[in-house]
């Protein structure tokens, strides 16, 4: 293995230092990690999943099953990266995986010794005893043995971004077809985004020598495309999925020059590319061959050996055996021979094309026909191969086995939206089925392997894609233009290039997939040519015999096969193994391949970091919280903030007490004795306007609003269509045709949408408009016996006397040039006012109230005290309005009276809602000294067994300083809800059982004298 002084697209003047397993190595700019590892003589790159067999680099792309490495350290640790897809960067730290203590000597390779017992699915048949918890014991060890790399445990320090991209034509893959498609579409006038997963454009062309005609064509195309303003070529960008609406998910990798991004730079960008049309030029992936020990380091795809030579200048072996059943591997053989290797081709076919044989003779490559590879010989790497030929067995020394079993079109992206690939018998491969509107395919993905055809198809698809999006752009007829001719086309790459002859396909597939089954170990009693494991899925360690076993046991559907054997479930998603597996199953079942079908291709095509999908939505940017206009005051006045439904709200103020329990009682007491101020800006606020506004409200609320006088407010309850309570709030008539509705904080958005729904879909005849004004108004509530005095002091121009502003009255004015609404209503049971003013002056109004109120003892209070005050008053809130309770359950039926025609009325009378066992709202009072009530306690009669769901539960509780008792609200079966009855509130989590008495839910001021007058 050596780096040549010639060949390749690496920059030999720019060495790049990296480490692999702690060993310092050097590559060049333009290397992949894999090519640099090969150049440094690394043979074993990883250990396999199950048997821990040594594995070498097998491919040169994202299909790599073996060479998985962990990159980086600390928070930047990233496991399971195929070395073949990693662009070499300075300072890169790579580490091998799934081995202990070292890659060369891995203790767990002992698993190989037990492999006769570890066949597919063996774990379904054992580990079931002796006791029923035994699995947990076995599983502990199995889990430790499984997994590949180890994840980091620290937060990822890097940044990810999300980008929205738009294109007329998106082209996936910058190989010959993609380049041609992009140029055609762009010349026709389309905005084109051309996406390439590699860090270099060219696709297949990169496996050709740079100074050949293919190289020249590529260079020319890149120059032309670079000169076009309407083409954006994105390399290092994987199109990982096709989603509805012709959206491509892209993952763009940055940081090509250093291993880690610089400060402020994104490591990766998630791209959402919305394209009018998409051209898939995704190419194809070479298929391996199966034979004994086909996983040994030194066995590699023929195309990969060629890429390492021509693109990276690395000659991977000196004595090369090319094992193939098609023509395409001959190109690799010729190039390797030209670079100085001694090359033999073992061609399983009887009669390769005479001109190929002639070329081989000229190139000094020995061709053995009807020669089938049976086994790779060697422990930690290949030393020799065993060939089976009509004349007998032959052993050849060799340090590189380059295999080719034909090519599988990369159909993944074309089938993500559900299009099923179709089988083409002539090329023995699956190609894209009928793709969706605006989607086109070109090149090897369609099964075209002749370069000229590929380029032609690209042109045509680029043009079709342009026409499609042009047609959708405008309906006017457009003059149809001929496809622009470029220099590229059939014949440019001449037939002196042996791999690209016009008349011989680039990659004829195996003559019969079942043939290669027969050269492996003992499938279904067929020929056994050599002993040893023959792998189908290298990464998941699935062998040919595992497939036979799955068949034998009845796991015959391809999905069963995959799930039973784990075939194709590795990080490579079976890119090299799936076709062989299903052709083998077809052989075993005696069916045609298309009748066996394929498994479903699921996105992503290549794995995508969770962090990239999250983008910038992490930390404080994830579901950003909402602040009220008064937020800063709370923070600077030492409020403990608590998030409720994305709003940050004061929970309690530290000035009120040491902890929440002390503080809320103090805040409550102050509100009852003097006055408290609460920020209620989070309430939903909706302006309901129009001639039919009152009629509208009459329909959406259970209680009537038509007769509500202007300047008065009313508490209202609305139901869902199924008769369950939806929300409550207060609505004030600010004009004859203008109502100001408030909703609960939690339901603000839902109520708004529902109102709009009703107006748009159910009652379009009502002349009503609804507008959310939640963010326009700041709101605060001043509650307590001193509230009126405070209001008068704060707004001396306003008459806030009981006559001018009675309970449920409205007073309008202006504050700092903004509208001001003072609505007198009480949630706490005290005399209280809600003050609404412009959001921009909200904080100022708050400060003014605080200033005016301080002499009267005004103090702010938080959510905990708010909740406690309303419990004392028996008002229901979130814990009671839980989406399951009805008007009757909450004791609110009287609000509806005899009305009809409101939302939820009819289904609100369903039979279960009047069941006597149905829980109804009650008040509960703790009757045991030194004990307390807790929300979430379950209620039982004292004589009843304590099990099951009990008679009900406590929903909300508080200590009442006024009553010096713990009180609560609960939902209790009506049959047990007689006032005075004693129940036990059980709280098993704390082992508590507390006696509580059923009382009226209105604990204080039952006649409402405090807030009247």
């Amino acid at each position: 293995m050596k780096r040549l002084n010639k060949l390749g697209r690496i920059d030999r003047s720019q060495p790049v230092a990296f480490t692999f397993d702690g060993k310092a190595m050097t590559g060049f700019r333009g290397d992949s990690l894999a090519s640099a590892m090969l150049a440094n003589g690394v043979k074993i790159a990883g250990r396999s999943f199950k048997y821990h067999r040594p594995r070498g680099i097998y491919s040169a792309g994202p299909e790599e099953p073996n060479a998985l490495v962990t990159l980086g350290t600390g928070g930047r640790r990233e496991p399971n990266l195929p070395a073949t897809t990693v662009e070499l960067a300075d300072g890169l730290v790579a580490e091998s995986q799934n081995r202990w203590p070292s890659l060369k000597f891995d203790l767990q390779s002992i698993n190989s010794w037990f492999s006769p017992f570890l066949a597919a699915g063996f774990y379904y048949k054992t580990f079931m005893g002796p006791t029923r918890r035994s699995w947990m014991f076995y599983e502990h060890f199995i889990r430790k043995a499984a997994g590949l790399g180890r994840a980091g445990e620290q937060p990822d320090p890097d940044r990810y971004e999300v980008r929205h991209l738009f294109a007329d034509v998106a082209v996936v893959g910058a190989g010959p077809a993609g380049l041609a498609a992009a140029l055609a579409a762009a010349e026709a006038g389309a905005n084109v985004v051309l996406v390439e997963q590699d860090f270099m454009a060219g696709g297949y062309l990169l496996s050709e020598t740079q100074d050949g005609e293919a190289g020249a064509w590529l260079a020319g195309m890149l120059v032309r495309l670079a000169g076009m303003a309407n083409v954006s070529l994105m390399t290092r960008t994987s199109a990982f999925g096709t989603y509805d609406g012709n959206v491509l998910g892209l993952l763009e990798r940055h940081g090509s020059r250093s291993a880690d991004p610089k400060q402020g730079e994104a490591r990766q960008t998630l791209g959402l590319l919305r394209a009018k049309s998409i051209v898939y030029c995704t190419g194809s992936i070479e298929r391996p061959l199966t034979f004994a020990n086909n996983d040994r380091p030194g066995v590699m795809l023929a195309s990969a050996a060629r890429i390492y030579l021509n693109r990276y200048g690395v000659l991977v072996g000196k004595r090369v055996l090319v094992a193939a059943d098609n023509d395409s591997a001959y190109s690799a053989a010729f190039d390797l021979a030209a670079a100085g290797a001694q090359v033999t081709i073992a061609d399983s076919r009887t009669q390769p094309a005479p001109q190929l044989l002639e070329q081989a003779r000229r190139a000094g490559v020995a061709v053995r026909t009807k020669s089938t590879i049976a086994k790779a010989i060697g422990g930690q790497s290949v030393r020799a191969v065993l060939l089976v030929e009509p004349s007998g067995r032959v052993t050849l020394e060799s340090d590189l086995v380059a295999v080719s079993g034909g090519w599988s079109p990369t159909v993944h992206l074309t089938s993500h939206l559900g299009s099923k690939p179709v089988y083409r018998q002539d090329i023995r491969a699956f190609v894209p089925g009928k793709v969706g509107a605006g989607q086109f395919v070109a090149g090897a993905v369609t099964g075209s392997f002749i370069l000229g055809t590929v380029i032609d198809e690209g042109h045509r698809a680029g043009n079709e894609a342009f026409m499609f999006c042009d047609a959708t752009r405008s309906s006017r007829a457009r003059v149809q233009r001929d496809p622009p001719k470029t220099d590229a086309g059939p014949g440019v790459v001449g037939d002196e290039n042996p791999g690209l002859r016009e008349e011989s396909p680039l990659s004829p597939p195996p003559e019969d997939a079942r043939l290669s089954m027969q050269v492996s170990d003992g499938v279904g009693g067929k020929m056994t040519l050599a002993k040893g494991k023959a792998f189908v899925d290298l990464q998941m360690d699935v062998t040919v015999s595992d497939i036979a076993l799955a068949h034998q046991e009845g796991y015959r559907s391809v999905e069963h096969l995959k799930r039973y054997t784990t075939l194709g479930m590795g990080t490579d998603q079976g890119k090299t193994s799936n076709f062989y597996a299903l052709s083998a199953m077809a052989g075993l079942r005696g069916m045609a391949i298309p009748d066996v079908g394929t498994t479903t291709f699921r996105p992503p095509f290549t794995p995508v970091a969770v962090g990239a999908l999250a983008g910038l939505s992490h930390g404080q940017h994830y579901k950003p919280f909402r602040r009220t206009p008064i937020h800063d005051w709370h923070v600077s006045n030492d409020a403990e903030m608590l998030e409720t439904g994305l709003w940050m709200r004061p929970w309690f103020y530290h000035a009120s007490g040491h902890d929440v329990n002390e503080a809320y009682v103090a805040e409550m007491r102050n509100a009852r004795e003097a006055a408290g101020l609460m920020d209620i800006s989070t309430l939903g606020k909706i302006a309901v306007q129009g001639p039919d506004a009152a009629e509208f409200l009459d329909r959406v609320y259970v209680n009537g609003f038509a007769k509500l006088p202007v300047g008065r407010a009313r508490y209202g309850v609305m139901l869902r269509d199924d008769g369950i309570v939806f929300d409550d709030g207060t609505t004030t008539r600010v004009g004859d045709q203008h109502f100001f509705m408030t909703t609960s904080t939690a339901r603000a958005a839902d109520v708004m949408s529902r109102l709009e729904f009703l107006l748009d879909t159910a009652w379009p005849d009502l002349r009503v408009s609804v507008s959310s004004v939640s963010d326009e108004w700041a709101a605060m509530s001043v509650a307590g016996p001193k509230s009126r005095d405070i209001l008068a002091a704060a707004f001396p121009d306003l008459d806030v006397s009981n006559d001018a502003l009675p309970h449920m009255g409205l007073l309008e004015g202006r504050y700092r040039d903004k509208p001001l609404r003072i609505i007198r209503l009480s949630f706490s049971g005290e005399r209280a006012y809600e003050i609404y003013t412009g959001a921009s002056v909200g904080k100022e109004a708050w400060c003014r109230l605080m200033e005016a109120g301080t002499p009267f003892g005004l103090k702010p209070y938080g959510l905990e005290a708010l909740g406690a005050l309303r419990v004392e008053k028996g008002h229901v809130a979130g814990p009671e309005i839980d989406g399951r309770t009805t008007l009757d359950d909450l004791g609110l039926r009287r609000m509806a009276g005899k009305r009809s025609g409101f939302v939820g009325e009819v289904l609100g009378r369903r039979e279960a809602f009047s069941d006597p066992e149905r829980p109804r709202l009650v008040g509960l009072r703790c009757v045991e000294d030194g004990k307390r009530l807790r929300g979430g306690a379950i209620l039982f009669r004292p004589s009843e067994p304590v099990q099951g769901h009990g008679l009900g539960r406590i929903t909300s509780t508080t200590y009442s300083p006024t009553l010096d008792a713990w009180v609560g609200l609960g939902l209790l079966a009506s049959s047990a809800a007689q006032e005075g009855a004693e129940l036990i509130a059980h709280y098993p989590l704390k082992g508590e059982a507390v006696r509580a008495r059923v009382v009226s839910p209105t604990f204080l001021d039952p006649k409402g004298e405090w807030f009247h007058g």
């Binding site: 399971n80 006769p116 017992f117 066949a119 379904y124 054992t126 580990f127 079931m128 029923r132 918890r133 947990m136 599983e139 889990r143 499984a146 997994g147 590949l148 937060p155 990822d156 890097d158 999925g241 998630l270 993500h416 939206l417 559900g418 003992g522 076993l549 046991e553 009845g554 559907s557 990080t571 996105p603 992503p604 970091a609 969770v610 962090g611 999250a614 983008g615 939505s617 992490h618 930390g619 994830y622 998030e643 409720t644 929970w651 869902r720 199924d722 369950i724 939806f726 839980d882 989406g883 399951r884 039979e911 929300g935 979430g936 306690a937 099951g948 769901h949 709280y987 098993p988 989590l989």
Partner: protein
């Protein structure tokens, strides 16, 4: 049945694996069965098994359109738990959990039920209270449940975000230690093999195209492989219940919605429990193979597409990184979708139907996997006796008329919000 055991593994290992028999036969359909179960998923196969095992009925066919286990039993995130709040759910899911605990041995098939516990993080004092309520109910119903405080959570799952900048701070968690995961495919295969051993005919690649009637009564099914007579017909085709229900003339309160699942590349063990986020849709467990398996919320619109939308993928990824910042660099390997029967209260419908001879098992929403054993058990009882098993008495179709819905989340009659 050829027994599976460590000895059979050794014996077969030494003889080249040549003697393992078929896990289940591939019979041709007979003309008539006592019971025909439509749907070869977990629930259908379990029903067939328990009909044979508990009720001695063996002349049964399970008819599957594709391959067995190809629906939601093979697409879910494999979580098993019984942490339900409401009467009706609590006992049913606990009964199911108890069946899970013995399932591998009942079936002689290792379904890998791993009781590693489920932890649901709480992000506010109110959420701690809500979880406490739930835990109290569970305990009073004989189910293990705990509420952990922040320090206890931290000891159990050190990789959550406990930093000052955590977007939704962790106040505590709900914990059920007997919860866990199982190998989903093995559940379908294990029931299939055990049912087959009782003589049940499992007929794959056979689609039901209609129902045969005699007067008002359904007496069999039309299939792509001919008519099959049946004493009773049970539908267990969750995800597609509406389509078959319509053929039978049933009006159903069901919508089909997509629930996605995600798996990362396999890594060495890091997530030792099932963990769930309390502030967004995301739950995570690590499979025995090493992949982190994620689930999230519904895609949110009616769909039969069996594939999901990138928006939901991103939502789940955001929640996952918020909960566990260290997984940011792990990579999603595959994401897929399953079609869920969503009902207006997110509870299943499993009952006799108004049509004589037809029984329904559907509406499992996103909760069907963990219910598989109890669903099979209770549906078998219902098919055998003609009347619902007491544990499913609340899961009748009439509950939407009567108002006896079991709405665990209180989201109301909006299937896509449940």
């Amino acid at each position: 049945m050829h027994g599976y055991s460590v000895f059979s593994i050794l014996r077969n290992g030494l003889s080249g694996q040549k003697h393992w028999p078929l896990a289940w036969r591939a019979p041709s359909p007979k003309s008539n069965y006592d019971v025909v179960i439509v749907g070869g998923g977990g629930h259908g196969l379990a029903t067939a098994f328990y009909l044979a095992e508990n009720h001695g009925i063996r002349n049964i066919a399970v008819i599957e359109k594709g391959y067995i286990g190809g629906g939601n039993v093979g697409r879910n995130t494999t979580i098993i738990r019984s942490n339900y709040l409401l009467d009706g759910h609590t006992q049913f899911f606990e009964f199911s959990l108890k069946l899970w605990e013995d399932l591998s041995r009942t079936l002689n098939y290792n379904v890998m039920f791993s009781q590693r516990g489920q932890l649901v993080a709480a992000h506010s004092p109110d959420q701690v209270d809500a979880f406490s309520h739930r835990a109290n109910v569970m305990r009073l119903n004989g189910i293990d449940a705990e509420v952990l405080d922040r320090d206890e959570v931290r000891r159990m799952v050190p990789y959550f975000d406990y930093s000052e900048t955590a977007r939704f701070p962790i106040y505590g968690a709900h914990w059920q230690s007997r919860a866990g995961t199982a190998r989903h495919d093995a559940v379908a295969w294990g029931y299939a093999r055990a049912a087959d051993a009782h003589g049940v005919d499992i007929i794959q690649n056979c689609e039901v195209t209609g129902f045969i009637r005699q007067g008002e009564r359904i007496v069999g099914v039309e299939t792509t492989r001919g008519q099959i007579g049946a004493g009773r017909v049970g539908l267990a085709v969750a995800g597609h219940t509406s389509m078959l229900g319509r053929k039978a003339g049933l009006e159903l309160p069901i919508e089909s919605h997509i629930l996605q699942a995600f798996v990362t590349e396999p890594i060495k063990p890091i997530v030792h429990q099932v963990v769930a986020y309390g502030a967004g849709h995301c739950y995570v467990s690590q499979s025995d193979k090493g992949g982190l398996v994620f689930g999230g919320g519904l895609d949110g619109y009616n769909s039969y597409a069996q594939r999901g939308n990138l928006g939901t993928v991103r939502d789940v990824a955001e929640a996952a990184v918020a909960l566990m910042p260290c997984i940011s660099r792990l990579r999603i390997l595959r994401h897929w979708g399953g079609v869920q029967d969503m009902t207006p209260d997110a509870a299943p419908i499993i009952c006799p139907t108004p049509i004589d001879g037809l029984y329904l098992n559907g509406g499992w929403c996103y909760g069907g996997f963990k219910a598989t054993p109890a669903s099979g058990w209770c549906f078998a009882h219902t098919l055998a006796t003609g009347s619902p098993h007491p544990l499913i008495a609340g899961y009748g179709l009439d509950r939407f008329r009567t108002g006896r819905t079991i709405d665990e989340f209180g989201a109301g009659p909006f299937a896509w919000l449940q």
